[in-house]
Assembly symmetry: C2
Homo-oligomer: 726 residues x 2
């Protein structure tokens, strides 16, 4: 890619971002759009424009984001979101500190060398003019322009050390900070139901004459005679859930029919057959009322049946105090470790109920099977991505599809195609995967939503690093690579290292596209806005339906973190080879911090709280990226025939030791609740009955119409109704 098309791509992206930001400023000030731009505030019962409503300054959101404290984020969006911001600011810190020393030293060093020109010269006949197309101006600012064995390489080696040391320092600080955040949240004087419960799985069959529940109760009562409260046996809820969902559906339809009736004063009708298109025509209100009555009867019968006959081999066990629950969750109950296995109870809303009954060895087997499946997925995706990267140089496209030649001849189209084609192909590709990986992770038998998301996010990280980064880097020189590997399998590092500079410009463009267009769309929320207005106008009849149309969902860590991690990996690996990428990295993470701060405070509603359990995974992956960077730099300095490249080896060892020490020191505190944290006094005596009730699935709790899936938001719902109607 030439320098020109790079600048065009950058410029276009910047313009798109500015347009989207202006759009956001304009749209977010219209009161009809409030539920799209301020849903989190509405659900929390706050005034959407609190504070800023007086000024209505178009950049007020930026000021608000900067003035918000970590405590605000914790209050409005939970510890997990605060941890995500620690991640963003840590990475930002790493890149900013690195850039501070690297840019002013390495860029001049690279620019004043002339390896590329002299190579080009030596390849041509000396009388030829130097062909402009064979190298990009950007490459002059990279290590590719440094002559082999040049003493200038010392500066680049020093830069590797600097980046590494900065990373260790920032990561250590961040881990300590996150650990404190987690401890503070867990020490809360409020009653948190999951702190009083443990999840028990792999319960053996009860002896004759006992039900599963009696067996569990007697087992725990013997061990904890004073602190055992009661147990909730996991049941097979498939059928009762189905009835409950039908019932909820009928209720919604009834409400809708009543709303239509009230608005138009006609009795609405519907057909009973397939999709409401065929069959007998009936009065909707009567019809659904009747169905509801039927369903309620069926539900109650099934509830009794479930509790009596469908008890399974897992349970939530409740204790009267937090310390006992924390102790019990960490201790071996049965001599045979595959029975009565315990873990801390996840939040009620996070429980993946169907996975609880899966036995330990079955979980282990599932896990390995899924690792194999994921490995296969990663390898099979390699083929299409390599293919896409290979054909999306325009020269190749013209050869393969000759009839596009006339189109490509037009200069402007050519430039745009050249700058965007490969990146768009890549982004579309990556959008297909996360759901599949989450599905696989859930199939492992993981008991909680947040854990499944962490697992999926890990898979997605390895996928993206392997496929996008290594895949794209090697694809340009794929056949050379394969030949080299055949000769000597150990040369992968050298091959990877030497093909890195060739892909530098590609990744610069990729990062820029990601932050300008990605964060522009994120901030402006154009697509949710359009969908909301369409739904509101044509589909929604009741308040509940309207709320469903604007309900924002959560920050979606499962794909957001791996996405950031990919950018992080790319920036790390190029930080010394093509230092300019640090600028892009800094912009990406600062823009990300700013836009998402706004979204976290005003838009997204967390769907679970894991008290920062994601951090150890984030930490480990940042370190993995650093490790990859060090290995690649070792290879690339070696390829430049710089003997002191060996000095990178102690650095690589340091990374491993650092990771080990961090794991030893911090990880257990994230895996379990430390007792010194759990032993803090509560503000009030916990209402254990309420704690217990919070774990009963909706379909099994006695059915009242006000039970609603947006539980946390319920009390504020009326407030929103008032605003929305205004």
């Amino acid at each position: 890619m030439e320098f020109g098309s790079f600048l065009v791509s950058l410029g276009t992206s910047a313009v798109i971002f500015v347009v989207l930001m202006l759009l956001f400023t304009w749209l977010s000030r219209k009161s009809g759009n409030v539920p799209i731009y301020y849903p989190n505030r509405i659900l929390k019962g706050m005034d959407p424009w609190e504070g800023s409503s007086l000024t209505r300054n178009p950049f007020a959101w930026i000021r608000e984001a900067f003035t918000s404290t970590e405590q605000d984020v914790v209050n409005l969006s939970g510890v997990d979101t605060a941890v995500y911001f620690v991640f963003l600011s840590t990475v930002l810190g790493i890149f900013a500190l690195s850039a501070l020393l690297i840019l002013p030293i390495l860029l001049p060093l690279a620019a004043t060398d002339d390896s590329i020109k002299s190579n080009a010269r030596s390849r041509k006949k000396p009388t030829d003019t130097i062909s402009k197309g064979t190298f990009s101006q950007l490459d002059n600012l990279s290590m590719a322009n440094i002559t082999e064995m040049s003493p200038r390489l010392w500066a680049f080696l020093g830069a590797v050390f600097w980046v590494s040391l900065v990373t260790y320092f920032m990561l250590w600080k961040a881990y300590k900070h996150v650990a404190a955040l987690r401890a503070k949240a867990l020490m809360s004087t409020d009653v948190i139901p999951e702190q009083f419960a443990i999840l028990v799985r792999d319960i053996p069959s009860p002896p004759n004459g006992q039900t599963q529940k009696e067996f569990i109760d007697s087992y725990y009562r013997e061990i904890y005679p004073e602190t055992f409260y009661r147990s909730l046996v996991v049941t097979e809820n498939k059928k009762v859930n189905k009835i409950w969902e039908d019932l909820e559906g009928y209720k919604k339809k009834l409400a809708r029919a009543e709303a239509i009736s009230a608005a138009t004063s006609n009795r609405p009708t519907n057909k009973t057959g397939f999709l409401g298109l065929m069959g007998k025509k009936v009065d909707s209100i009567e019809y659904y009322t009747e169905l509801i009555n039927e369903s309620v009867a069926k539900l109650e019968a099934e509830q009794r049946a479930v509790l009596a006959e469908k008890q399974q081999t897992a349970a939530i066990v409740f204790f009267t105090d937090r310390v006992t629950a924390a102790l019990a969750a960490q201790s071996l109950h049965c001599q045979m470790a595959e029975k009565w296995t315990v873990t801390e109870a996840p939040e009620p809303r996070q429980l993946i109920w169907n996975n609880l009954k899966i036995k330990m060895f079955s979980r282990i087997i599932r896990q390995y099977v899924i690792y194999v499946l994921v490995a296969v997925t990663i390898l099979f995706y390699m083929i299409p991505i390599t293919f896409v990267s290979a054909i999306t140089t325009l020269e190749n496209l013209q050869k393969i599809i000759p009839f596009i030649k006339p189109v490509v001849k037009i200069a402007s189209i050519r430039t745009i195609l050249e700058s965007y084609l490969p990146q768009i192909a890549l982004i579309v590709f990556l959008a297909l995967l996360p759901k599949f990986l989450l599905f696989l992770s859930k199939s492992e038998g993981i008991p909680s939503q947040s854990h499944a998301i962490r697992a999926a996010s890990g898979k997605y990280f390895y996928f993206s690093v392997l496929n996008v980064f290594i895949g794209v880097t090697l694809a340009g020189t794929l056949f050379d690579t394969l030949k080299a590997l055949e000769k000597n399998p150990n040369s992968i590092i050298t091959v990877l290292a030497t093909s890195l500079p060739k892909s530098a410009t590609f990744f610069l463009t990729y990062v820029a596209l990601k932050f300008f267009v990605g964060y522009g769309l994120e901030l402006s929320r154009i697509i949710p806005l359009i969908i909301f207005h369409l739904k509101k106008k044509y589909l929604c009849k009741t308040e509940a339906e309207i709320k469903e149309a604007w309900y924002p969902g959560d920050l979606n860590y499962a794909t957001r973190v791996p996405g950031d991690m990919l950018i992080l990996t790319i920036t790390f690996c190029y930080s010394v080879i093509a230092p300019l990428i640090l600028v892009f990295g800094v912009i990406y993470f600062s823009l990300g911090w700013l836009v998402l701060r706004n979204q976290a405070l005003k838009v997204y509603v967390p769907s679970y709280e894991s008290y920062g359990r994601m951090w150890p995974h984030i930490h480990q992956r940042i370190l993995a990226a650093l490790f990859l960077f060090q290995v690649v730099m070792f290879g690339y300095l070696g390829a430049k025939r710089f003997v002191w490249a060996t000095l990178v080896i102690p650095l690589i060892v340091t990374s491993l030791v650092f990771g080990y020490v961090c794991r030893q020191k911090f990880y257990k505190g994230f895996e379990h609740t430390a007792l010194e944290v759990a032993c803090r006094e509560l503000k009030e005596t916990p209402n254990l009955e309420e704690v217990f009730r919070s774990y009963i699935p909706h379909s099994l709790s006695s059915h009242k119409p006000e039970d609603h899936q947006f539980k946390g938001a319920m009390s504020r719902y009326q407030d929103y109704a008032a605003i929305s109607a205004a």
Copy 2:
């Protein structure tokens, strides 16, 4: 080695064994030898000849060994010893079951083939007579005699499967049995002090104004307000121990002086200078009485100083019930996992007091440093062992030390030298190492004696397998091996496999020597007997001194288990290549079982009790030996150009899976005390003050003369005195 010398060696060993056994029968019936042959019974307060005293049948000890139950062993020698017998009988079972199918099938198959002869023939000119010296008759019974690609190899492949399946079955059964043994012992209704305590290390510095003890007490009282009893802070005892030891020494000398005085009615005197050889002559009784009074005063002063000023960062924390202690020992107390680390408290007598203060990261560093040291030891020992094995063929010896030629010419000496030289060299070698490894293991910072012994035993196992087994096997063909390895490093398995049959006879002799001479000496206790009588006659004056002279020590797992493991590994690896070794394996383990059963019941006194914690290590090493066997067989079948050797690969995978499953299912129950085990009711309310007192070191407890190091034995001591005097 020729067949003749093998038979001579075997015969000599057998004769030695018979002689030693007769000696034992004769000596053990003399009442003066009772404290050597029945010390455990004496210390337990039992009649040494109980039951058998009526018959005085020379083989009564065999009957007694066979009729004793596992419960007898547990009662007389503890769970660890019972677990050791489970190990012996499991291995015996594996070899006996293997031999049952393998010997009748493989031996005829090997004997009727003629690979060796035909090879020998093809090497010589066809007219030559076949040289007898080039192969041993034993080799005809081994796989070496099977022609390449012969369909007979199917039977050998089948044998590999049979041995593996038998091993899985026996190991599974044994693990279950040992787990039950452990659970039963831990469920004991007696008060076991260590079940009420945990060991806490890495305690941070107390805040200003608090002592370490106050800090610890307040920390634990906050977490366990109702079940915390008290804490015992670990102190720096070096100086107080020194004073206490001096005091004990003076007491012994005083007692000795008084005994002499009573016997001879002369006041004994001694000199106060170097070793009692120089200096002023004083009256011993007066002199030591004075020294004792001085020391007692010094001791009390130092005891106060220690408790006040020398508190360290570790403590034993006591709880009022077993469940809380079990819970606390498994749970994370501090958010930062390197502080307030907890483990189950070891028995008081096992505590390695000086290691308790070592901090977590320091322990980890020590551990890795010591792993490196052990690796270096293993590699450096390789050189002398290789050297010894290489020169101990007589031909080589004659070349190196020509003047021994005339001696060697004498046929009988030649045969004996040929049969014993290498084995004796090896045994002497191995005797030097265990103490060093135990020292290294203790330096790792391990808090308990039994744990240090397990660690040392593991190191010794790897040492012996690597050095003795692989070392000796490869040494015969050392230079060929090195050349082959240079060409292709992956060929180690093939090289090892093909050089195995050459060493088969060496190992047959080694095993035979081990069991006949080793167990003969073990049973007859000739050396302890001689030492005891010499000491009794010339040195001992007081009862305490006599007791010290016969006090038997424990079974010494640290070297016994790795020794057995080496035999096990050798037998496994040759079980199919030279099936005759199975007979020797069976004899070794059955003789071992018999002799040691006698020793466990009558002689050895366990010095600690770890409730079978050694089993997981034993299990894993048996499995490691099986794994080595499978890999070697894969290589050897491959070297015989048998394509179906690949069928061994699924078997190797099965071994790994089997090990993983066992670890998952059983290991945690050995690492911790399961709660369902800890929650059993006690026979009586525990006397917590007594539990606490049992952890106070001798040098810190208020000093009374009857405190003695053989605590468990004290109450029975008078009984012995009566017998011994008779």
